[in-house]
């Protein structure tokens, strides 16, 4: 693609890469669960933009239809995951009054209360 500088596909591929980075930061460094879902969607569209841009390397041929179809599928899948994540978060907020997972007090009554929170 470097040979085609001046052509917008390179620009949008780099934009996609930047969006992935920005979204990833929100996903790891922010704690409000809704913001993390939002960040997931930013990463997702960054990935798609990157993909779509690499599929438009040859303006003489037009945009490659295969990535376009895969991206549409990906958008629906991302929407499905987002909807489930948001439903889980609203449910969790209603049950616990919290909007982030951190500082969760261990609960002795719960048979599943993990007493280990280390690791990745």
């Amino acid at each position: 693609m470097s040979g085609a500088l001046g052509h917008s596909a390179t620009l949008f591929a780099l934009t996609g890469a930047a969006l992935v980075g920005i979204g990833l930061y929100g996903f790891v460094a922010r704690t409000h669960l809704l913001r993390r879902v939002l960040a997931f969607n930013v990463i997702g569209s960054g990935v798609f933009l990157f993909f779509g841009a690499t599929g438009f390397r040859r303006p003489d041929l037009g945009a490659d239809p295969a990535p376009q179809a895969l991206i549409i599928t990906g958008i629906i899948v991302a929407l499905s995951l987002t909807a489930l994540a948001l439903a889980l978060i609203t449910r969790y907020a209603a049950l616990s009054g919290r909007s982030s997972l951190e500082d969760e007090a261990p609960d002795d009554e719960a048979p599943d209360a993990g007493d280990e929170r280390g690791g990745g």
């Binding site: 470097s2 920005i22 933009l49 990535p67 439903a87």
Partner: protein, 313 residues
């Protein structure tokens, strides 16, 4: 500097700025607003990348429905949970995270620039096979013929997202009505809106599905518009969404994917799973799309409405 490059550069800059504001902001409502703007800008970027089908999907789903899901989730969470992002990591952790993310973005950029600038992907193969696909829009041909299996699974993914959302209801409300009761002043702007917009939306949706076989559009874009219209009518307090226990509703939700699956199975009995004879391909694809549109519209509308929250209307 051509005007095209100026435009694209500005667009990219704005999209990055909107994304940063959505991620970095303090106020979540503002972040969601930025996210919707971000989606609009990305949709325009898709137009610039000659991917009109994706632009339609992004405008309808990426910016539209995802934004609306976020707005309503935010409203629900803020009513029940303490706000504030306490316990954010220290400065050092943030710097480490930022470095990691910059590294990932850099690696991607590096990989993108290392790609062969003459790579044509599948474009030539798709144009060659298009006459046998039954539809003239190559993206629809990939979605509903060449890679129909992906689309079949994806329609099932969407449906099961709804089943999963429903599974988070309160036990006592099971079988009841999705979401809380919506109301509006009967002759107010919202109600008028809810009466005026549906005919418009219906025409647009049908047009999108029909156009999808030859031009950009298709079941997902059309289904989203239908869902939006249905929700608008419900939000204006004109109708109620059906109970989750309603059999006609469940049949409508399942119909599209089930029909698609049946087409695949019939193909298998005739020799090829999801095989479409070129002569019948157009008719079958249109029928599958019509079924999918119906189910997608119902699924998306109920996804936005949420799990059942009351048993009485």
């Amino acid at each position: 500097m051509t005007p095209a490059l100026v435009f694209d550069g500005l667009l990219a800059l704005l999209a990055v700025a909107a994304a940063m504001a959505a991620i970095g902001g303090r106020d979540l409502f503002g972040s969601v607003a930025f996210f919707i703007v971000y989606g609009l800008l990305i949709a325009i970027a898709w137009v610039r990348l000659d991917a009109i089908d994706v632009a339609l999907a992004e405008a309808a789903i990426g910016a539209g429905l995802t934004g609306i899901l976020l707005i309503s989730a935010l409203a629900r969470v803020e009513r029940t949970a303490s706000s504030g992002e306490s316990g954010e990591g220290g400065r050092l952790a943030k710097i480490a995270a930022a470095l990691l993310c910059a590294g990932v973005a850099g690696a991607l950029a590096w990989a993108a620039l290392a790609l062969d600038p003459q790579g044509a992907g599948l474009t030539p193969l798709i144009s060659e096979a298009l006459p046998q696909a039954g539809v003239g829009n190559p993206v629809t041909a990939v979605l509903l013929n060449f890679r129909a299996y992906d689309t079949l699974l994806e329609s099932i993914v969407l449906l099961f997202a709804l089943v999963a959302v429903w599974s988070l209801a309160d036990d006592g409300n099971w079988g009841g009505l999705p979401g809380l009761r919506q109301h509006a002043r009967s002759d107010g702007v919202l109600a008028t809106f809810g009466r005026l917009l549906p005919p418009f939306g219906l025409v647009v949706a049908v047009y999108l599905v029909w156009a999808g076989s030859e031009n950009p559009g298709g079941a997902f874009q059309g289904g989203t518009v239908l869902a939006a219209i249905w929700l608008l009518v419900a939000m204006a307090g004109i109708t109620e969404l059906p109970r989750v226990s309603s059999l006609p509703l469940r049949a409508a939700l399942v119909f599209g994917p089930a029909f698609f699956l049946a087409v695949g199975a019939i193909g298998a009995l005739a020799g090829t799973f999801l095989g479409l004879a070129p002569a019948a391909a157009k008719a079958i694809i249109l029928a599958v799309e019509a079924g999918l549109t119906l189910s997608i519209a119902a699924t998306l509308a109920l996804l936005v409405a949420g799990s059942p929250q009351r048993t009485q209307g």
